[in-house]
């Protein structure tokens, strides 16, 4: 059997050939080791990231937590020592009230039900409840924490999120030249957005969602149209 290599379309059961790698290889989502070799377990395109990481880029919508990923969640229960946060996975994530910047037993962080939280997954295992933190290992919040009011949270596919987070994202570059907006992208397929007006927010959200089906060379045209729509109103 020949086996698929990087850039190929794979379906579950396909044998995957890991070419051009020396040393350790990391199997990401969509790949599994079975006895003699590596098989795909998802439909999509086989990709290779840095550090010899191989994974299958698929059209998945449901989030499965992974350690170290930054996610957006909505607080569903803010009482007690552990707050509950809905991050779109099968289990709700929990976050300790001490996992915020400057939080102490005396100084509880101000978190209410319905708040949008940007946190990093500290614990993510299939057998355990996921746990979030809103500080880094130095106790600084960085960009994590409760997001301010006036934002708009919407969901999209996990693949689109990865597309937005690529170092060179033509959409965000093109939009940023024309509009002022704040965008937070969680790897769980949620995007938080804040602009100056409701109209702008909706248009930018539409543009982000449309980006799923755009080729890189179509992006500039789409953004120009959006700006035209904004200015003509």
């Amino acid at each position: 059997m020949n086996g698929s290599s990087e850039g190929d379309v794979v379906v579950p059961g396909d044998v995957v050939r890991l070419t051009g790698v020396k040393g350790k290889v990391v199997l990401g989502p969509g790949l599994a080791r079975t006895g003699e070799g590596v098989h795909a377990t998802k439909c999509g395109v086989l990709r290779k990231g840095g550090n010899n990481i191989f994974y299958v880029d698929s059209r998945q919508k449901k989030y499965v937590p992974a350690k170290g990923e930054c996610v957006l969640g909505v607080v569903t229960n803010a009482r007690g020592d552990m707050f509950k946060v809905d991050i779109g996975s099968s289990d709700e994530a929990s976050v300790s009230y001490l996992a915020f910047e400057n939080a102490t037993k005396k100084n509880r962080p101000l978190v209410n039900v319905g708040d949008v939280l940007f946190g990093r997954l500290l614990v993510a295992s299939k057998d355990m409840e996921p746990e979030l933190v809103c500080v880094d290992s130095h106790g600084k919040k960085g960009r994590l924490g409760v997001l301010p009011d006036g934002g708009f949270l919407f969901t999209c596919s996990l693949n689109l999120v990865r597309k937005l987070l690529r170092p060179e994202c033509p959409l965000l570059e093109a939009l940023g030249k024309q509009l002022a907006f704040e965008l937070v992208v969680g790897l769980n397929g949620r995007v938080w957005l804040r602009t100056g007006s409701v109209r702008e927010t909706l248009l930018v959200a539409d543009a982000v969602l449309a980006y799923q089906h755009l080729q890189p060379h179509q992006v500039q045209h789409a953004v120009d149209q959006l700006i035209y729509q904004l200015s003509s109103s």
């Binding site: 379309v9 379906v11 059961g13 998802k42 395109v45 059209r59 449901k62 057998d127 693949n159």
Partner: protein, 260 residues
């Protein structure tokens, strides 16, 4: 108002309503068929007459709310499918080592009956065989199937639709699966993937599901009486026909991979 008059009025309204509903459904179906007819119609193997299947059309992600969905037509049999999960599990269904897989089959009209229940079980077992359910302990994965038109081979079409929805949802699977139906005529001839008219003349029908790696049988459902030899012949013919479905799956993935 007198009672009989009220009754007749009510039944008249009901009649009108069902007529409108049917019209809407058929318009949707026609649109869907028309939309897809130029893409992959009639690409099936005509040269091997005995193992050719009816034209197949499919679209993924047709419904927005589920985590994966698909609509599949095989000939004039149409099934819509959706997958939710892995999501939260009810306490009594909880399994600590694997996902609980549930299937719901909804007939075109009315409430599900026992034959639909049987179909659900077959589909559930087939899906569970293909999935790597141990990757998602303490969760549930729901496969919902809606019959939209039955023109023969409904079980096979449902199994294939559930596979496509699972592919769309990104649930980890060991392999893909495809089901093919064949009919056995009075003189023990085998018709692969018969439509409703041909099926009426058959004394038995056999449905097989195969895995995509070794083309092993993972489910078999038969009705009617037939000799063992015919069963084996039918199995082989269905196995050959399943190749076409697996190629079709790959084409679909390739088509949708262009947006990745």
């Amino acid at each position: 108002m007198p009672r009989p008059l009220l009754h007749s009025l009510l039944s008249l309204i009901l009649n009108q309503l069902t007529r409108v509903l049917h019209a809407v459904c058929s318009v949707y179906k026609q649109n869907f068929l028309a939309m897809n007819s130029n893409s992959s119609n009639g690409t099936h193997s005509d040269d091997k007459e005995e193992c050719s299947v009816r034209p197949i059309l499919c679209e993924l992600g047709v419904i927005t709310r589920p985590d994966g969905s698909a609509i599949l037509t095989q000939g004039h049999t149409v099934v819509m499918s959706a997958v939710y999960g892995p999501s939260e599990v009810r306490m009594q269904r909880l399994q600590v080592d694997r996902a609980y897989v549930e299937t719901v089959f909804r007939p075109k009209a009315g409430v599900p009956n026992t034959s639909d229940r049987l179909r659900e079980t077959i589909i559930r077992d087939t899906c569970e065989t293909a999935m790597i359910a141990t990757l998602y302990p303490r969760t549930t994965i729901s496969v919902i199937l809606q019959e939209m038109e039955d023109s023969g081979g409904l079980l096979a079409c449902s199994i294939n639709a559930s596979c496509l929805a699972l592919m769309d949802s990104g649930v980890s699977m060991k392999f893909l699966f495809a089901a093919v139906t064949c009919g056995v005529t009075e003189d023990d001839l085998i018709i692969v993937d018969p439509d409703a008219d041909k099926l009426k003349e058959c004394k038995a029908s056999l449905t097989f599901a195969f895995d995509s790696i070794n083309k092993n049988v993972i489910a078999s459902y038969t009705s009617g009486t037939f000799p063992v030899q015919t069963y084996n012949n039918g199995l082989e013919k269905c196995r050959q026909a399943s190749d076409f479905l697996f190629d079709f799956y790959r084409d679909i993935v390739r088509k949708y991979a262009s947006t990745l």
